[in-house]
């Protein structure tokens, strides 16, 4: 293999996402719409909004992920390039190629989200410290959501209208991340250190990043056969 193949796969995915940036906006718009409904619905209950803010933003991020996950493997399945990826037989090549794909997808989802979270935090009345912790928690915990989501997409690959099945597969596994993610912000609200929660989220991300690409490639090889 030429030396820069991981970079090549990574850049290719980002380039394709950029060329389809209209689709990326979908997820972001959904995120913003969902989060903006809560302050509207809960009018003057500022204390309640501040308590719920982190949780709402996490859930909206997860829903935005669900919206964007469907396109992760669909196009590649339709045009035949997924099979080419699975046929890579240098040891570890398919694993890293899938990791490159997942990392690129994660970036296209989380970066717009993180850019808009400060604005949303205003709507919920989150303090600067809470916002900081929330952004860190999103940064550390989102890879888990993305990778687990990708495993769910691999399991449902090729099925028509698999949207609900995807959600059913994915949501239970995301509960721990949501708990720790909102817990971190609650700790900051109580003026305690959120570091233990953030560390757990980061550890979860690292472990999932190790395992998920292998799971996805193995699953796809069975699905495609």
């Amino acid at each position: 293999m030429n030396n820069h193949w991981f970079g090549c796969f990574f850049k290719t995915e980002l380039l394709i996402s950029w060329r389809q940036r209209g689709e990326l906006i979908n997820g972001l718009l959904f995120f913003m719409l969902v989060t903006s409904l809560f302050p509207l619905a809960l009018g003057g209950e500022w204390a309640l909004l501040q308590q719920m803010g982190a949780g709402v933003i996490w859930v909206a991020a997860l829903l935005a992920l669900l919206v964007s996950l469907e396109r992760l493997l669909w196009q590649d399945g339709v045009d035949g390039t997924l099979e080419q990826l699975l046929l890579l037989n240098t040891p570890g090549a398919a694993y890293f190629a899938m990791l490159a794909k997942l990392l690129a997808h994660w970036l296209t989802w989380i970066i717009p989200l993180l850019l808009f979270t400060p604005i949303l935090a205003l709507w919920f009345g989150l303090t600067m410290e809470m916002l900081q912790t929330l952004c860190l928690a999103l940064l550390f915990g989102s890879p888990v959501l993305c990778m687990v989501g990708a495993v769910a997409v691999a399991l449902t690959h090729g099925l028509a209208r698999s949207g609900i099945l995807l959600a059913i597969l994915l949501l239970p596994w995301c509960a721990p991340v949501l708990i720790f993610g909102t817990g971190a912000v609650s700790m900051t609200a109580m003026a305690l250190s959120a570091a233990p929660y953030l560390a757990l989220l980061a550890a979860g991300s690292l472990i999932t990043m190790l395992i998920a690409p292998w799971l996805i490639v193995t699953t796809l090889k069975m699905v495609v056969a």
Binding site: M1, N2, C8, I16, R19, G80, T90
Partner: protein
Amino acid sequence: MEESFLKNSYILHAKSLRIVINDQVIVSNANFSVSAGEIVLILGANGSGKTTLLRTCAGLSMADNGELQRCDAYIYIGHLPAIKPMLTVIENATWMQAFGENSGYAVETALETLGLTQVKDVLCACLSAGQQRRVGMLRLLLLKAGLWILDEPLTSLDHAGILLLQHLLDDHLARGGAVAMSTHQMMTMQPHWTIKVFNLSEDDE
């Protein structure tokens, strides 16, 4: 090609291959092999299992029984040209080079050989089916491989495209490569090639 660790230096060897999908026996007893410089034609009526057999040879499907050996460096092109429609032709070429060892063929020369120089900066989604097929064939030039597994490679190609594929096959076989191919059109076979034929329709039990 340097695949000497294979038994009897076959580049692709299938013995008593039996493929069952969803409880249906698609291929019951396939036996064929190709060594350097040879081409095996998989023939059969529509629905006889040519695609399944070639996919199993490529490693995408598993055989239930039998022996299958294949060299490490091979290229599989199935019914789909396997290109990224949201990349331009030249970007696709660069992306393809990440898939294996480079053959040393320059990207520009490969585009010229396949008649794609004029459209090199066009998004592949905007190309015709025949042009997309040609873009898919870029990997045959850009990657170094001992074995080509081609499933109906003449689909969508115009006459010039067919001559082009003939030329590519000629070069590859002359350099000691091997090809396993399914096609409905016999006219592209050159007399000086070593051609083996495996007919799936005759293989019924």
